[in-house]
Amino acid sequence: MSVLSIEDLTYTYPNTQACALDNVSLNIEEGEFVLITGATGAGKTTLCRCMLGLIPHFFGGEMSGNVVILGNNTLDTQPSRLAAKVGMVFQNPEDQLIAMSVEEELAFGPENLGLPRDEIDKRIDEALNLVKINELRDRSPYELSSGQQQKVAIAAILAMRPEILILDEPTSMINPKSAVEIIEFLNALNKEEGVTTIITEHRLDSLVAFVDKIVILDRGTIWETGSPQEILSSDELLGIGISVPRIVQLANHMRKAGYKIESLPLTIEEAASIFRRL
């Protein structure tokens, strides 16, 4: 079942000449784990904003085409309404924090939805457990590390029980260890709870093993869509600014040198076993 359907989306920011997105069409099915990647300025953040209706409602500008998410056309629905089912996590962990305690932070979304108090209580417990940050409940988000802050932001969105989770470069400003933890967590969430997950990222090392589909954006258009195996075997990715994981680069080199490598290694273990067999 399609949960997100984008048709011929073209968008230009206000007071700008060049369009940020040019005739983008994309379809995402329920339960998919999708990676959207591309160089800076390719349109990743713009695309995310379109998915939640922040474009056009919050940012203005000129938009043509359709974005239908969970049956709602974003042109006719306010972002705050869409936010009840579509969760969005942003790049800068600190700037998306609203409250002075983690507990209040997690309560904010459900409060806005008008949920009864005991339900909010349940959701807070649930979210803290899911993201495994129970010990942070009474802390102030401002004394936490960037990795912890981002986990709080994710928990705050999960407290609203979204059907789709969109994350715009969630790990680009946090330390590598927390980045890996968060990506592994998102994968578990997607596989076990079936939450459709859309993530934009530059750092692909841990992601490629987990995602079902990779969408490559280049200067506002979709360059290619496909499975990790299909996409990563292309030579041209590095040229358009995609940080192909080094073990994949290595495997591509070896393939070109004539070594027989059937499927590209997406994890270190896979790479080790492939190279051991050579």
């Binding site: 160089a39 680009s172 600014g241 040198a257 190279f275």
Partner: protein
């Protein structure tokens, strides 16, 4: 004599406990050194002592023979340039050109010399075309280049770059990489504060890892990365290819360079050995 010499440095912020707990470090001119560790480890606190922004509470920091307690930030900044993590904190002017002029204000150059200097730096960093643009109109990567340029005009012997790769894509990182390599080639010391392991390993021979205000490891990268307690404790993730090689246990592999090219050549060598 090392250009920067830190001995038994202790420092605490007013509301935090002990940010630096006894740090010893020597940095020579012309070195490329990466200081790594997670947030809160004390990396930024440490490097802020090198240009006098912070003064030691106990211990000493000697830069170019002078005790930093006795010199002003402005004086130290002529030799030790600091590029902040968020370029927006250090961009004060309406145009890129004016921003570079700001750094030269305190220096005794003729107008022509200043103009030449600015031209030189703009071209070196590939941002000549942005001379009359407002920094806000630029992308994050371009802004970072402007930030580096604004410090570079002062021709510092040491350049400290604080988390320069945050939020940069591959091409922007390559550009940054070329700039840092060239600056290092000119004989400057580059102090790279980062948790981007691949970037650090691509450029620097010497790695310093920190955790909780202390230095855990200080040495050539092959030594540091091979002791996993030093790496893991500092909250870092080892380079992918290093992890691969660990699994693969290639004997006699030249492990100091984890670039794709060299690992490729090592594997080819190894498999040929197996065949022959």
């Amino acid at each position: 004599m090392p250009y920067i010499s830190v001995s038994d440095l202790h420092f605490s912020y007013p509301n935090y406990t002990h940010a630096l707990q006894g740090v010893d470090l020597d940095i020579d001119l012309g070195e490329f050194i990466a200081i790594m560790g997670e947030n809160g480890a004390g990396k930024t606190t440490l490097v802020k002592h090198f240009n006098g922004l912070l003064k030691p509470q106990t211990g000493n920091v000697i830069v170019d023979g002078a005790d930093t307690r006795k010199v002003t930030v402005a004086q130290l900044s002529k030799n030790v340039g600091y590029v902040f993590q968020n370029p927006l904190y250090q961009l004060f002017s309406e145009t890129v050109g004016k921003e570079l002029e700001l750094g030269l204000r305190s220096m005794n150059f003729s107008d022509q010399e200043k103009k030449d200097r600015i031209d030189e730096v703009l071209i070196a960093l590939g941002i000549e075309r942005f001379r009359d643009r407002h920094p806000l109109m630029l992308s994050e990567g371009e802004r970072k280049s402007v930030a580096i340029a604004s410090v570079l005009v002062m021709d510092p012997k040491v350049l400290i770059v604080d988390e320069p790769t945050l939020a940069l894509d591959l091409l922007e990182k390559k550009r940054l990489s070329n700039v840092l390599t060239r600056l290092h080639g000119e004989g400057r010391s580059i102090i790279l504060v980062t948790h981007d392991v691949d970037f650090a390993f691509d450029h620097s021979e010497r790695i310093v890892t920190m955790s909780r205000g202390k230095i855990l490891a200080d040495g050539p990268k092959e030594d540091v990365v091979n002791d996993n307690t030093l790496f893991d404790k500092a909250g870092l993730v080892e380079p992918q290819l290093f992890q691969l090689l660990k699994h693969f246990e290639l004997s006699g592999v030249h492990t100091s360079d984890f670039s794709v090219k060299s690992v490729f050549q090592d594997i080819v060598k190894h498999t040929k050995k197996g065949e022959g």
